[in-house]
Amino acid sequence: MKKIKLTIEGMHCASCASNIERAVKKVSGVNEVVVSLMTNKAFVDVDDKVNKEEIKKAVGKVGYKVVDVEE
């Protein structure tokens, strides 16, 4: 279990945040996601074996861009 922090660009409304939460939660290895619209950050609880590219892709799929990943 570890926490990663994503900086996401392009969110402009509340449903954006909930869409990203929904999409990232579906990635295998992701346990919990909280998206903060105000800080453009997503806090993701993940297993060690999670593929970060998958998370980025999931965010991209619903129309937003991950600009930074921090562990």
Binding site: A14, N19, T39, K61, G63
Partner: protein, 649 residues
């Protein structure tokens, strides 16, 4: 993450983006509005009917499909992937309106195309204003990010060289002139000065610093040159920790927003369905396709999930920003909601009510005083306990050389034991003496006298014979009494918890104005005492976060006191950056004010949607008016959150 001065933040980029679109959109929309209004209001036709539609379609095209393309694309994508969003509503509303213009040539429907670009223009305008308000909401937190120094002047040999802050290493000697920012956390190596720490701790009075004092990065050196040895850099600094706390708090939820979140999740698809039903109903009743389309569009664009979704995070953002400025760090959003239910506030004694720096005040012994102190300090030097440190410090002051200790053992919550020069020495409270059947009757009266003064008294025995007692006093913090009085005025029940015996504890408590005392509590029992108190009401626990972690976690709201440069991050829902109890009062005020704002915002957001959507369904609102109402409602929510700044905390 490094933030340089020139880097544009995501917020600013967002703002600039909307601003550009807004200006471009209105260049095209103003002529559209003139053409439409002169026709509708004054019956004055600038163009003939058919030409007018063509002109409007041409003028509207770039507004929707070029400047508004991102919204359209996101919205349509959302519909096809079942990730509906705000944009889906706007995209549908504008595209349908635009299509009516084209269809009107075939005489199927009336032309609504002018409405399409106006909706998009107002939507863009609303987003722009909202982005400014959101930027304002996060200004305190952004300021925090920019607070760190960019450069440092380090000493190499006899030369001072300027380096980037990222190049500073632990152990480097940094030179800080008066008026300059201290680049990173460190310890004063040479020099004397006062330092303004208000930006980090909220403490407005400058703090005196001399050799050996800890300094915090990003604070401002006032009047002397300081030579500082860097002790923490980069991610480990006090400032970096504060930023992390504040940012992470945004990733926590306030329970009250759960319902709003649930509604937001199903909001857009629900509105789509309502809109379709509205269209069918109106078509059935009025047999007027055009009118039905217009009303359906109004329903699409008036619904505002944003107000609901922004209600809580914006208020939390402003609240935690104001808090951070005042040295109050909200770690969990939940705490601000729970805070208003709290009835009992439990304070740890040492380091919370008192300064946590006990000093030896009394020594009574049957043997030579120096010898007595030497034995006591030799044994205590191995222990980390504050009382031990006080005794060791006293010996240091008197330049006493300490002896070696063998078989050292801590008797948890009671004292210490060990062998010095072959003799078994025991130092501790009466409990420890009783357990070892050591008679201290001779000192009983003196112990009672010291304890009544609030002094913790330890008994020293050598080979099972008492040789003397030591009284240690830990002065209360200057503002403890004032803070406790304020809490009583607000009708809180205050309790002090401590490992000290009843008499000492009561003396300290009365100095601080606290009536209720739980004494003789072993460190591991604090949590249990909290559980007991919780039967009588919600409990906030105030402690230093190091020894008190379990009690802080168990309480309904854990308030951890940051002391000096150490910050208890893991324990506590709220962390006070400066050790003052005034912070507890401020934290309560801030939590209540923030939670009040959240409630107001949620009420407004629900109220708006509950009133506006039915009005649109009933066909009382023109689509453009509907869009303006929608934009206004989310701006209102964010602006209302910004009003939180006016509250005095």
């Amino acid at each position: 993450m490094e933030h340089s001065e020139h880097e544009i933040s995501i917020e600013e980029r967002e703002m600039n983006k909307w601003k550009k679109r807004l200006i471009l959109s209105w260049i095209f929309v103003i002529p559209v509005a003139i053409i439409m209004l002169s026709d509708r209001l004054f019956g004055f036709k600038i163009f003939q009917e058919g030409t007018m539609t063509i002109v409007i379609l041409i003028l509207s095209f770039p507004v929707i499909f070029i400047f508004g393309w991102e919204t359209i694309r996101q919205g349509i994508k959302g519909i096809f992937t079942f990730y509906f969003n705000m944009d889906s509503l706007i995209a549908l509303g504008t595209i349908i309106a635009y299509l009516t213009g084209i269809l009107s040539f075939f005489g199927i429907v009336q032309d609504y195309s002018g409405v399409s670009s106006m909706i998009m223009a107002f939507f863009t305008t609303g987003k722009y204003i909202e982005s400014i308000a959101r930027g304002k909401a996060s200004q305190e937190v952004r300021k925090l990010l920019q607070l760190g120094a960019k450069k440092a002047r380090i000493l190499q040999g006899n030369k001072e060289i300027e380096v980037e802050i990222s190049e500073v290493k632990i152990g480097d000697i940094i030179v800080v002139r008066p008026g300059e920012k201290i680049p990173t956390d460190g310890i004063v190596f040479k020099g004397e000065s006062s330092v303004d720490e208000s930006m980090i701790t909220g403490e407005s009075m400058p703090i005196e610093k001399a050799k050996g004092s800890n300094v915090i990065g990003a604070t401002i050196n006032q009047d002397g040159v300081l030579y500082i040895k860097a002790t923490k850099i980069g991610k480990d600094t006090f400032l970096a920790h504060i930023i992390k706390l504040v940012e992470e708090a945004q990733g926590t939820k306030v329970p009250i927003q759960k319902l709003a979140d649930k509604i937001t999740n199903i909001f857009v698809p629900t509105i789509l369905i309502i809109s379709i039903l509205t269209f069918i109903d109106w078509l059935y009743i009025s047999k007027d396709v055009s009118k039905s389309i217009g009303i359906a569009i109004s329903v699409l664009v008036i619904a505002c999930p944003c107000a609901l979704g922004l209600a809580t995070p914006t208020a939390l953002m402003v609240g935690s920003g104001i808090g951070a400025k005042n040295g109050i760090l909200i770690r969990k959003g939940e705490a601000i909601q729970t805070m208003k239910e709290v009835k009992i506030i439990v304070f740890d004694k040492t380091g919370t009510i008192t300064k946590g720096m006990p000093e030896v005040t009394d020594m009574i012994s049957t043997i030579n005083e120096k010898e007595f102190l030497k034995i006591a300090a030799s044994l205590e030097k191995v222990s980390e306990h504050p009382i031990s440190r006080a005794i060791v410090n006293k010996a240091k002051e008197e330049n006493i050389k300490l002896s070696e200790v063998k078989k050292f053992k801590v008797e948890r919550g009671r004292g210490v034991r060990g062998d010095i020069q072959g003799k078994n020495v025991l130092i501790g409270n009466k409990k420890l003496m009783d357990e070892n059947k050591i008679n201290y009757k001779k000192y009983e009266d003196k112990i009672i006298e010291l304890e009544a003064q609030g002094k913790t008294t330890v008994v020293v025995s050598i080979s099972k014979k008492v040789v003397g007692i030591i009284g240690v006093a830990d002065a209360i913090k200057e503002d403890s009494l004032k803070a406790i009085k304020e809490l009583h005025r607000k009708n809180y029940r205050t309790v002090m918890i401590t490992g000290d015996n009843e008499r000492t504890a009561k003396a300290i408590a009365s100095q601080a104005g606290i009536n209720e005392v739980i004494a003789n509590v072993l460190p591991e029992e604090k949590e249990k005492k909290v559980i007991e108190l919780q039967k009588e009401g919600m409990v906030a626990f105030v402690g230093d976060g190091i020894n008190d972690a379990p009690a802080l976690k168990q309480s309904n709201v854990g308030i951890a006191m940051g002391t000096g440069t150490d910050i208890a991050i893991e324990a506590g829902d709220i962390v006070l950056a400066n050790g003052s109890l005034k912070g507890v009062v401020s934290a309560i005020n801030l939590s209540k004010a923030t939670f009040g704002k959240i409630k107001q915002n949620l009420f407004w957001a629900f109220f708006y949607n509950v009133i506006a959507i039915p009005l649109a369904i009933l066909g009382t609102l023109n689509p453009v008016i509907a869009e303006i109402a929608m934009a206004t409602s989310s701006i209102t929510v964010v602006s209302n959150a910004n009003l939180l700044r006016r509250k005095k905390i």
